[in-house]
Amino acid sequence: MKNKIIKTAAVLIYIAFVSLSFIFGYNPGKLIGHNFASFSLEMIKLLPPVFILIGLFEVWVKREFIEKHLGKNSSVLSYVWAILLAGPIAGGLIPAFPIAYSLFQKGAKMSVIFTFIGAAAVCRIPMTLFEASFLGIKFTLVRLLVSIPLVIISSIWLGKYLEKKDYIIMKG
């Protein structure tokens, strides 16, 4: 409750600061306001389709299917699936979190969802192509070859560690 009051106060102060900046022509505040508008617009464009796809995933994909391929008793292949699933994601970590959470709710194990998040960060196909064309294929290859194994290993470790501690992922 107390936390909520602080958050609301912070948001109100922010709004007051930005609006006053526009009224009195205070440049830093105006720039922050512009940043707010352009990033909001980006999120408004990105989030609705992502969440509609998540909704479709929730109603169509059966729990048993996810459990079998990405769950506790799934094979090593589950990590390959996690990486392939992350490949076509646009927009990086932001859409990856809700998708990973849905996968988790459907029965995917923790190490697989961490691999998915890591892969959504490092080996998205659209971004990788962009990177290779600007910084060279060698740069991209080194990055992928080093980061993918490290992402998988650290995800397995983190999953095991959290399971040992009986960590419960809270409802978002």
């Binding site: 958050k7 948001v11 922010y14 830093p28 720039l31 922050i32 306001g33 940043n35 707010f36 990033f39 909001s40 999120m43 464009k45 990105l46 989030l47 609705p48 389709p49 992502v50 969440f51 509609i52 796809l53 998540i54 909704g55 479709l56 929730e58 109603v59 169509w60 646009a90 927009g91 990086g92 970590l93 932001i94 979190f97 809700p98 959470y101 961490f114 998040i117 890591g118 960060a121 490092v122 659209p126 971004m127 962009f130 990177e131 600007f134 910084l135 060698k138 740069f139 080194v142 990055r143 080093v146 980061s147 490290l150 650290s154 983190l158 959290l162 960590y167 992922i169 809270m170 978002g172």
Partner: protein, 160 residues
Amino acid sequence: MYLLYIATALALSISFFINKEKTIKAVKMAYKKLTKISPAFLGLIIAVSIVLYLVPEQVISSSLGNDNKFLSILLASFMGSITLMPGPIAYPLGAILLKEGVSYMVLSAFTTTLMMVGVLTFPIEKAYFGTKVTILRNIISFFIAIGVAVMTGFVFGEII
């Protein structure tokens, strides 16, 4: 972005064609999930608007060009962790920095942390996975990025 819209429209129409009720349920679910997480997104957008003002591109560029390699790697990873920049802006910027003499190693530290470590996305990650997971995942990602940068330095002959 267009591909995302095309894919969503396609999936939605196929789903609607097969089962109307399920599709409506999916859209309702999408709406509910989105409204539930929106306060965290407001936090993200406010944080981004302030950080982008405090750390503009010029500041990032100038801080990566330091002569001390290890200091630059640390600075670059720090910059990459606290900022949020879409690929279409980050990579052309990287190409420019490369021409100006910034090493591949430092660039790698910057772009990898940019992608993997999200200080700004903390409110969202926390809302889904809790504080502990979020902190652990980001710390691990930070070290993976350093590992990638060091390896890049070896491959491009920038270390030794």
